[in-house]
Symmetry: C2
Subunit: 364 residues, 2 copies
């Protein structure tokens, strides 16, 4: 029961294919792109060891000339330095790459961001195919063409919007995923439910055990529903530029928590989970959201093993960090708040008092 | 008698304004872009000294918050290293840049390529305004949004297509231009005439003295006609992808000559001039172009002080370099050849014998 979702972006449209074992279709996916002189697979050391040999072998069997590049696993590799090293390696390949070569990004979010930025800028833009191998990358990075590296002054400050030609999501790669990384993806799934689809939230709640066990059919259904939501948001944003900002739900305070305690001290999914609880609380206090509508959101997060409470965070520090977020406009802090499950609005009148009060709600 | 040419690229369309003193309109051009939080002027050390203070002052008078970045003048700065340093400087500016900031590229081709690539990739794409200050940048880099840095294995291998929001060409900046740099731009003007417009070639021929003296009105007319030709080619290429390749006329052999003798040993315009003469000769030998049609092309190049003959070049070396050009497809050497002044076609059946014979024609 494979599923295909089209990301509708005019001439830059592409298909996201979700299924068990779909990586085996990579060769055909690439040959269908048109003239292809060679393929370069980019992955980190961890994923390269896990899936690299099989992917190289099946591309070779498809009659393609294949090269591969790798970089050390981890967010610390998302730098201009690693990007420059990948470019050096890319232009040293033999046979040399040309405009008919295709890049494959095989791995999680860091790989997609980094390899995607290489694809966006090598030879002023090469075709690329994304093969995400983490749930977070499956439901988030696989749609929208955001590529980037970090700069010492902030995350994702250098990059490009550059759409892949195709995305293959093989749920079999998820079985090797550490639980913490699964949680990060699940936090984004809950987010998609809150901003667009109450039914998705119910589906997650009803199938939580099977999701946590990475049951194939359930994961295909879960990922396909999430990809469809993100694809709809990204497509709509081409015309209406505030839609994409809805994806920041839970991320404004979540991001500030990450900065405050340190990115290494809290996994992204846990920070986003806390950010969503705080945002729901703020929506309740502003009388935008009935308290009864906030409860199922908190409940599903708990059900997935994500945190909904945490020890005291310095509210003044959190507020200060929020004021310096790159999404701030003209000094105004903007937040995405739900008015019911499945519907959110953007508010740019957030005050220090709102934040303080919503953080208090996180105390155990 | 200022002139405005629209580069028609759908939502990415923009105007190129050509005139004497149009730099003084930079402030208004930027404020008309919409919400602008700050402006960052990027230039090399030479142009920064010549025009920087005036530009900063006039942006300040327009009520804009202005910062500036500079890098050492010269092609040697077109590297990922300089790009990384500019990014460091950009993200260290105070007040900090944000998505409402605008970049101004003030300078020649290297500045446009480098600052354009910074604009294309900082915060995943910032708005930018191009203010070229050399004739080559005026008639070539000002249209088409090509941005890039060099890689040790080749020129312009890392970059992006990223259109500016506006281009201001102030012919008064040309009066400080060294003669050699003027020649490089003039070679491109002749190229535009050969590929699209016999009348332009006649105009250049009739006004050669005034052009070489940088007479304001003549330069405005010359630049506007060239920008219009390049804009038409770039717009058409959005639909028909071989059009842009016509701009390579004279550049295939010209580029090989540059690689053979060294980029520092021959100015770009002189190499392109020789490349055009060789290509015309090849077209004559293939009976595509009447010999009588080739003569006026050679004559106008001579009239502008560009070389039409040179000492023996190793034809086997030239051929080998041509085979490794990044525009080569599936090992086939492609060249753009004229069938009359104003009309060219692409040929992908070029042989070593063709090249040898056309190079012989360059001997004094």
């Amino acid at each position: 029961m494979d599923k295909t979702i089209t990301v509708a972006l005019g001439q830059r449209s592409y298909d996201v294919r979700v299924g068990a074992g779909v990586l085996s279709e990579l060769g055909r996916t690439i040959t269908e792109l048109g003239e292809v002189s060679s393929v370069v697979v980019i992955s980190d050391t961890t994923v390269g060891q896990l899936h690299g040999p099989r992917v190289m072998q099946l591309l070779g069997s498809a009659g393609l000339t294949v090269g591969s590049l790798s970089f050390p696993a981890g967010e610390a590799s998302k730098t201009l330095a690693t990007y420059g090293e990948l470019m050096d390696d890319l232009f040293s390949l033999s046979p040399a790459i040309d405009r008919q070569s295709v890049i494959v990004a095989l791995g999680g979010g860091v790989t997609g961001d980094l390899a995607g930025f290489v694809a966006a800028t090598a030879l002023r833009g090469m075709r690329w195919v994304q093969c995400p191998t983490t749930l977070l990358a499956d439901v988030d990075a696989s749609v929208g063409g955001k590529t980037a590296v970090d700069h010492p002054t902030g995350k994702n400050l250098i990059g490009a919007f550059y759409q892949p030609k195709a995305v293959l999501i093989d749920v079999e790669t998820l079985t090797s995923l550490p639980r913490e990384q699964l949680s990060s993806g699940l936090a984004e799934c809950v987010k998609h439910g809150v901003i667009r689809d109450a039914g998705l939230l119910a589906f997650i709640s009803e199938n939580a055990d099977d999701i946590l066990a990475c049951g194939s059919d359930t994961m295909i259904e879960l990922i396909a529903r999430n990809v469809a939501i993100k694809a709809a948001v990204v497509s709509a944003d081409e015309r209406e530029s505030d839609q994409r900002a809805h994806l920041n739900f839970g991320h404004t305070i979540g991001h500030a928590i990450e900065v405050l305690v340190g990115y290494d001290a809290i996994p992204h999914g846990r920070a986003v989970s806390l950010g969503m609880v705080a945002a729901c609380r703020m929506a309740v206090e502003r009388k935008l959201l009935p308290a009864a509508d906030a409860d199922p959101i908190t409940a599903v997060l708990e059900r997935l093993g994500l945190p909904v409470t945490c020890d005291a965070l310095g509210p003044d520090d959190i507020w200060r960090i929020m004021q310096h977020d790159k999404k701030t406009r003209a000094g105004k802090v903007r937040m995405v708040l739900p008015s019911k499950v499945g519907h959110v609005e953007i508010y740019d009148d957030i005050t220090a008092r709102d934040v303080r009060s919503s953080l208090r709600a996180l105390l155990p």
